[in-house]
Amino acid sequence: MESKYLEMINEVLEVEDRTITMEDVFRDFEEWDSLAHLSLIAEVDDTYNVVIEDNVFKQLKTLQELFDEIQKRINA
């Protein structure tokens, strides 16, 4: 589950030079910008059929928090 998720994040944000972990704060990535944000929204919708409102998304900091939010909604 988690490895598939990290693979998706890696692909969306086009991280090439390092290994990302669940503890990473994704907004600190140098690849992060508003367009990466849209790509991530689209990919989360495509992969998990989950749409997270922007005011909720803004509170999420680490990849773990995003993962947990997605899981919460899948199970809801």
């Binding site: 367009l35 929204i41 919708d45 922007d54």
Partner: protein
């Protein structure tokens, strides 16, 4: 969801006018670093836009498009007895621009004329209203005009919106004829999302003042605009589109007893290239049936659907063509239609 259908009403001809003044998006502004601009422009897929020069209004673009179409189709002006102007950039707060256009176009006093104020959903909404009035049998020919000068609404110093919008105007002649058969519309609204795309001031809730005209830094990224500029929360707009648009599109496809295979062309509001390719992918549409003009003209709000038809399909509409039209945006407001074209005439693009 309001689903409606009409019988034997259709568009017999369309035209569009754009300003000659062409903006090269890569060199639009020196306010942001060149590399940033390149990255934004590449991603949104908008290479050029047309900006109306000072003094040119949406109505002027619609007027030019209408004159071209009326000439090309050899229409007797006295046969036009319904005129609807769709826009959120009208000439004046009053009177309605449609009425000034009735006079400018030399139409008779028997013409019913009014404006509709909606954004990116407006062409589809406008069509449904005109179709409904035509269905009464009380009108001979209707002229639907749709024009926008959205380039003036957004701040060139706000990177969220600076590179997206362009200007244009279109005209469509709508008539009653048995060849058109049934058509289907779905019209929708969600006012709880009103602040996703908005101009805060300059209306009657927050009237224009020195304060509303003063530039301010509005976010952590250093974007600058006044309260009378438009703003957009792109992430939530995208969330909205993902949630509502594929669902709405599929419902109209089903309502009209069509499938992806039976539709000739799917025309979406041209918001940005990224959103459009995502929708096509999500709906599993054949890309050759999803024409686009975003690269040349940018986001022209409600004009984008008819401008795509006029600029991209001029030589591909011979015979009977089944079309899906889908507009969505400010409001939030969204509308989808399945209509049929029968040898729909398309004028050459007018540049003024």
């Amino acid at each position: 969801m309001s689903n409606i259908s009409f019988k034997n009403i259709g568009i017999s001809g369309m035209s569009a006018a754009v300003p000659k003044n062409t903006i090269d998006n890569y060199n639009y502004t020196e306010f942001f670093p060149k590399e940033d601009v390149k990255e934004i422009v590449d991603k949104i897929g908008i290479k050029e836009r047309r900006f109306a020069p000072d003094g040119m209004c949406a109505s002027d673009l619609c007027f030019a498009a209408a004159e071209q179409l009326i000439n090309d189709l050899n229409i007797e002006k006295e046969e036009i007895d319904l005129l609807v102007f769709v826009s959120q950039t009208p000439d004046y707060r009053m009177p309605a621009t449609s009425i000034t256009l009735q006079h400018r176009l030399g139409l008779g006093k028997n013409v019913a004329a009014f404006d509709i104020s909606l954004g990116c959903s407006a062409f589809v909404y406008g069509l449904s209203i005109v179709y409904g009035l035509m269905q009464t049998g009380g009108f001979r020919k209707a002229l639907l005009l749709d024009g926008e000068t959205r380039s003036r609404i957004y701040s060139p110093k706000d990177r969220k919106t600076a590179f997206l919008f362009g200007d244009g105007g279109v005209a469509a002649i709508i008539e009653q004829n048995e060849k058109f058969g049934e058509c289907y519309f779905s019209l929708n609204s969600d006012g709880s999302l009103a602040d996703l795309i908005k101009i805060d001031a300059g209306g009657y809730r927050t009237p224009s003042s020195i304060d509303t005209l003063t530039e301010k830094v509005v976010d952590d990224y250093g974007n600058i605009r006044t309260d009378e500029h438009g703003y957009m929360n792109g992430a939530d707009v995208f969330n909205f589109v993902l949630k509502e648009i594929p669902k709405n599109f599929k419902s109209v496809l089903a309502l009209s007893n069509n499938t992806n295979e039976t539709i000739d062309f799917n025309i979406f509001h041209q918001a940005n290239a990224y959103m459009n390719s995502y929708l096509a992918k999500k709906l599993k549409l054949d890309k050759t049936r999803v024409p686009s003009c975003i690269e040349q003209f940018g986001n022209t709000s409600s004009v984008s659907i008819p401008l795509t038809i006029v600029s991209q399909l001029q030589n591909q509409l011979q015979g009977s063509k089944k079309m899906m039209l889908c507009g969505f945006g400010v409001g939030m407001s969204w509308a989808t239609a399945q209509i049929k074209f029968e040898d729909c005439f398309i004028s050459d693009l007018v540049e003024i």
